[in-house]
Symmetry: C2
Subunit: 479 residues, 2 copies
């Protein structure tokens, strides 16, 4: 009992201190551990399994679009990183430099990749010769290093896992179409698979990727009302192609520059899942993502037939769900706490009375709702319940998100909302960087994106300077 | 035609120059490309797909044994690497050192992981408390960096991809049993999946891993008669546990040290597949590994119905095999060369006369044997043919290996065999490091392993010094 108390007590309430709640959950749900090197984290089995499931599903969706996986070196010579001016300015201040190889000083510094545009460009320069070679639709799954000062598990760390897609196309139109297609693929993945509603849109110039012509993003809203950029897709035009000399011979026999894109999502999506769906008992995983979807917990397991019944439930359900039995010698209460902390979508309780009645109790992690299910109907009822949970989690997150969008028509209103109402602020913008800078400096809110779908002109003037407005922007404090 | 000639001509014959043949194949089969940083390579789509297929199959086999995947940081502080004396002596000379993070000099050098024993040990020290926590069966898929001087694609490069398993057990027996189980898992994988016969055995002390009590390996023989170590499994006893203080409370309430193992296979297995199965037309892939198992090539594809028939074959076969159609505007001869170069196990030719007779021609990549198959029987015949090819490739590689094992009873005979007969040499050994050193220095051959299954005592004296012999050893020149 002392142990059980410890597990539950150790979680700070999310309303009391959201940041501490987050830290508690990542540790207590056994997702990660800190390493002795500041800013680097260890993915424990559950944390890594979440990434594996995301990876497998995304990889399947990429391959449906014709994407092929490759692997580029971890190491980039300094001279290569410097080939595209904006790019190196954006990344050089935060890379880790290797200066010694084995027992020797290196003649040229080598950086550990912070991203791989330069490597792909160097490769494409020789790999692409004619229009027949286009498009090149390459992706890699790897880790990258960025020497961040402030770090938080999954959200910002000195090394993180991600995929980075890098494509080369014959025309600007093809490249731009691909950029948007991938952004929608990310949005669909987040909504269908992670049950996280997103706003899809374009970043302002201030917030775009170093070296990109345009950056598009999917933006999600955490439970505390702070925004989190969950994925980005960049359109490069022919900027990198010109810096690296990537040309192809077109059908008309003319040498032309390719047009490129890059796009990525990272392990910070794990942070988003925690902060969108979690509660004061820990993690709540959407069923499609959950490594274990059902935990069978026998009650009074020493009584005759109970462990057998639990094993039989597991065996039957294995055909339709990812299921485990907890037949350890811990108490049921302890097992419940663990299953809840680790976010397993359904708990099945089976005890002597249930067994006598040929039934069991299914408890939803998200709502704690209990349903009595006949043992004969498990293989039809549990998959239905998992789908219901997946659906409800998305709808709940969407309702939360929608109820945290407020409109500001002038700067006073904007500042008041930032102070009092967590969430997105919809506000018109003149297009000037100066207004973005001022808003950030004075309120802490940044432009999240210019949304694709929301064309509401809520006023005719910039929410900051009052000059004529160009775009509707979603603003917010962000992770 | 000029182009076709180029593709075929560009391959050096393997009998003429095996090393050049290898280099030609990795490039012409589109497996890899060199990066501008010496010793680092780029995995192109086919090269990476081979690794993905190996990874997926091994990962499935690991998980059947209860292994869980985790992810440890890429970066190791120097002080951590130094905790186990033998280990750091083995690795320090070949690591890449980071000395600058962002714009600052680091206070302590950080190395890019050459292997992760130290990280796992540091983690296990706090993660393991009681006998209930054991065994810990963790694995990670990642890349590692070793500052090698001589490099060759897939076989030895400054960065390579691998998996590294790291387990902690309650007793020495449990750990040793696991070490051997994994070695056999590797052996079975190589034989069943890659069609590469292996010799399973123990490394001599000279050849064992830095910090291990015992190293076991699976050894394979390439077409040119040189050996290649295809995987290793290490037993650490409690050496690392004592260096790192990894203790657990046993059932008897006593604090005890854990016993550990580590084990890994790398992308050099791709090199083994090339050098065991390849021929003068390029790569030959075993069907279970092949990303594309069947390539349908239409003949006179502009004739009515041919492309439709090819598409229909693909559609039907997709249920039972990984199949593609090459309906590009290249000539059939060019397509054949490409399919052969890329090692696709079966080519299906379908032309007007075949179609009229409701049949097609299936050509085996390994033997070039042609079979006429009725279009009505494709979905039963092609899977059978793939299995036959898989089986025959293994048997052929085994016959080649077995015909390249020679016995040496004294040193004169040993030296003569090294000079004249490529392959393994079976020779008795006294157990002295001095003999191993002498053999290596004077003949270039190294001890591959003391085999598990072969207990033939071919003589009573050491093949080098003539003193009483302890073990039968397989010797050979190795990659």
């Amino acid at each position: 009992m002392a142990q059980e108390k410890k597990l539950v007590e150790a979680i700070t309430s999310m309303d009391e201190d959201f940041a501490q709640w987050y830290t508690d959950v990542v540790k207590k749900a056994d997702l990660m551990e800190y390493s002795s090197l500041r800013g680097c984290m260890i993915f424990k089995p559950l944390g890594y399994a979440l990434w594996e499931n995301m990876r497998n599903e995304l990889d399947r969706r990429f391959k449906e679009q014709g994407v092929e996986n490759v692997y580029m070196p971890l190491l980039i010579p300094e001279s290569l990183l410097q080939k595209e001016k904006d790019h190196v300015e954006g990344f050089a201040p935060e890379v880790a430099w290797i200066t010694q190889g084995g027992l020797n000083e290196l003649q040229e510094r080598i950086c550990v990749r912070p991203t791989s545009e330069t490597l792909f460009c160097e490769f494409y320069k020789n790999d692409i010769e004619s229009w027949r070679d286009l498009p090149r639709l390459y992706n890699q799954w790897c880790s990258v290093v960025r020497w961040e000062k402030e770090t938080r598990p999954f959200l910002r760390s000195r090394e993180f896992l991600w995929q980075e897609g890098h494509t080369a196309h014959a025309t600007a139109e093809d490249a731009l179409e691909w950029t948007i297609m991938i952004l929608n693929l990310y949005g669909d993945f987040l909504e269908d698979f992670l049950a996280i509603p997103v706003i899809r849109g374009q970043k302002t110039d201030k917030e775009k990727f170093a070296g990109a012509e345009a950056t598009y993003s999917v933006e999600s809203l955490m439970h505390d009302g702070q925004a989190l950029q969950a994925g980005t897709s960049h359109y490069f035009g022919d900027g990198f192609a010109k810096a690296f000399g990537i040309q192809y011979t077109d059908r008309d026999n003319q040498l032309k520059y390719v047009h490129q894109t890059s796009w990525g999502v990272t392990t910070r999506m794990i942070g988003a899942v925690i902060m969108v769906h979690g509660d004061d008992s820990g993690l709540v995983l959407p069923p499609r993502l959950a490594p274990t979807q059902v935990m069978v917990i026998p009650i009074q397991q020493r009584k005759e037939g109970i462990l057998d019944a639990a094993a039989k439930i597991k065996e039957e359900l294995s055909a339709v769900a990812r299921v485990k039995v907890d037949d350890s010698d811990k108490s049921p209460g302890w097992k419940f706490s663990e299953q809840e902390m680790r976010g397993i979508p359904i708990r099945i309780e089976i005890g002597p009375r249930d067994l006598a009645a040929n039934q069991c109790v299914a408890v939803r992690r998200d709502t704690r709702e209990k349903t009595i299910i006949s043992l004969d109907e498990l293989t039809t009822e549990i998959p239905k319940l998992l789908e219901t949970i997946q659906h409800d989690m998305f709808e709940r997150a969407k309702a939360h998100r929608d109820s945290h969008i407020n409109d500001a028509r002038d700067y006073e209103e904007f500042k008041e909302i930032v102070k009092t109402k967590p969430g997105y602020i919809r506000g018109m913008w003149c297009g000037d960087r100066a207004c973005e800078d001022k808003i950030k400096e004075e309120t802490g809110a940044t432009s999240r994106c210019i949304p694709f779908e929301d064309h509401d002109r809520i006023s005719e003037t910039c929410v900051c300077c009052g000059k004529p407005a160009e775009h509707l922007v979603y603003w917010g404090r962000a992770y």
